[in-house]
């Protein structure tokens, strides 16, 4: 992807399988950059799902994915 200054870099990409999320919040705790939050969105199990609050801060360390008990998050870098 290209930013407005023409610099090409690749943002780490997180994919959330929201239907698997149980809103436990362990990913939020694990993130060293405080990028994550439990959103107000409910999945079809009735759980509020986790999501990125600020994608720009994410450096793809994948600690959120490592700490998620339900393998909700996939990480690309």
């Amino acid at each position: 992807m290209v930013d407005e200054r023409g610099k090409v870099f690749l943002m780490p990409k997180l994919v959330f399988r929201e239907e698997r999320c149980k809103g436990c919040g362990l990913c939020v705790l694990a993130c060293p950059k405080k990028c994550l939050e439990i959103t107000k969105k409910l999945n079809n199990q009735g759980y509020p799902v986790a999501g990125l609050v600020d994608p720009d801060r994410c450096n793809g360390c994948a600690l959120c994915a490592e700490m998620c008990p339900d393998l909700v998050i996939e990480v690309w870098k």
Partner: protein, 253 residues
Amino acid sequence: MKQVFKRPATLKDVPFHFCPGCHHGLIHRLVAEAIDAYDLREKTICAASVGCSVFMYDYFAVDVCESPHGRAAAVATGIKRALPDRFVFTYQGDGDLAALGIAEGIHAAHRGEKFTIIFVNNAVYGMTGGQMAPTTLLGQTTTTSPFGREPQREGYPFRMAELMALAAGTAFSARVAVNNPKNLMQAKKVLKRAFEAQLNGEGFSFVEFLSSCPTNWKMSPEQANRRVGEEMARQFPLGIYKDISSEGGRPER
């Protein structure tokens, strides 16, 4: 772009039934990752136990034998003696290993049976609704220790990693936790060493995972993780209690 975190092949792509924040999901994944790391999936046979982990066969893409409550170590003995070149492990909770199955676990260690016990210690009986376990902490209230565990009334908790380390047949015994990223990464290393003890034919290997049970502890996942790191780790210190491959087998932190 490459994927830096993905589901291990040994873990089936199905939702876990565990409660929000329960560490079973993490421990299942770590065990599956270790199976993948050593390319063991096609030669692994698991002796499952009874508790929240009774549905192992729904999650692990390996052969699984259901065992009566507490008897997984005996079932694993039968399996490993029948097929010594397969990779065999049990996955047991507090009641299964430290109550019903204490004899089977300790005798397997003393016989030096070449399989690995994964022990999930969450200081409570989860599946049955939160009763006291042999590993319930002093002072902890449960549905059958409503006044808080006291030695005179309920006796002392079992320290299984230490107990297993005492057996001469044990090649490796350790206690780990998965309540924060640092502990989780250490747990991965420890688990691999335990698997190696079996793969190298060194003897019995044992890994105790301190684990949370937010539902029965009546805590949020965050509070539960803190309890694992603080209160639990104080009564059950993390570390390696026996490793015959290192000189002296000093506990490492």
